[in-house]
Symmetry: C2
Subunit: 220 residues, 2 copies
Amino acid sequence: MLVNINTHRRPIDGHLAALAGERVLCSEYRYHKGTEIFGEGEEAEYVYQIVTGAVRTHKLLADGRRQINAFHLPCDMFGFENGSNHRFTAEAIVETDVRIMRRGSVIEATESRTGGIRSLLRLVTQNLKHAEDHMLLLGRKTAPERVATFLVEMDARLGHPRLMTLPMSRRDIADYLGLTLETVSRALSRLRDQNLIRFEGTTQRRIELLRREQLAELGP
Amino acid sequence: MLVNINTHRRPIDGHLAALAGERVLCSEYRYHKGTEIFGEGEEAEYVYQIVTGAVRTHKLLADGRRQINAFHLPCDMFGFENGSNHRFTAEAIVETDVRIMRRGSVIEATESRTGGIRSLLRLVTQNLKHAEDHMLLLGRKTAPERVATFLVEMDARLGHPRLMTLPMSRRDIADYLGLTLETVSRALSRLRDQNLIRFEGTTQRRIELLRREQLAELGP
DNA sequence: CGGTCTTTTGAACGGGGTCAACTTGCGTGG
DNA sequence: CCACGCAAGTTGACCCCGTTCAAAAGACCG
């Protein structure tokens, strides 16, 4: 489900601002939990930036096996790294507000801006760097290492909060790390038993990292 | 080992031509088998294009586990997808001639060329697409599927020759596919026993694909 | 030839997957 | 408010695919 909030010209944040200045028309849309933002193979007309919420992008094999490429959090841009068609599917994990602009207008704005090309390249290469790091994880790390790496990554991207609330399920984490949800659950329980993390309250998605250095060492 | 062949202005091939026209100064170097072209963390000053030979790029974990991101073949460009520092190591697999140009001059040439930005972006997003496909392989495919996918990929990139000569060892293939060399060897032997591939002559690196469609189905 | 590196093949092990049971959280409606 | 249904998460038991360890057979080069 998709709700158009508004269309406007106004200051924009982070990468988008660095790229295009404040001259590009954009709109805000709201996607409800679990809904698709775009599908694999669809035409890639827009660029997306998350305002609030979280998005996952994934690929599927014919028999349903799923690999999540990345999770996107507020201020992150996604959907840009495409030629003409999307190479994966993007879905809202939770209630999510997304800012949308035309791909073409971003490129045009970039052309007329000094350093614009480098900003644009940096944006794509950030995704590439993430993919390369993730290939190392998927190809060569053990299950406990993957889970520790995941926690450290999320901690950093959420700004090292005392208590982090993961927007994604165990299954999502598993499909991101190339594991099964049971293995993820066991690894987290193990970290809890070792007093490296703590589950806050009743829900299993609120996690406090008790020893960040040791967690970082576990995910080499 | 590195040998400077020459420095010249002359027509250049493929991506490089699309990017920069024929106006950019470039040099050719020869790297001997097994030598490093650049290392992880080094400053990324140059862009590389293979003339003849083959290159592998990899990352290492502290304990020596290795993940090969990609193999590069003649006409391929690499080393570009960097901000200021290289995020991985590049090594010649066999005797390799490489064309080298300054990163900065490529960007400048791009800026003054219509459609240059899109060409540049396409170059980087090609790498990104490959990385995304490879994450799906590393995260979700079985060993036989990975090996079949590898053969089909190499066959396509070598232009579907009747007989393909792989430049890389079983260990390289294994580190690319997130497996051990023994598993790769066993999977290839299995394919040979099923009459899907055939080893030509004495060396195990010359392979003929006997049934391309069936191989493609094996790597979904 | 001998020496070294690559590749294959076999045997045994174990990490993570599979299958299943159970618990818990969280609506939704009576 | 509780009863019910369902999705999410945990935990245990078993098993299998791919790793590990080991040996031997090429391939290549002096």
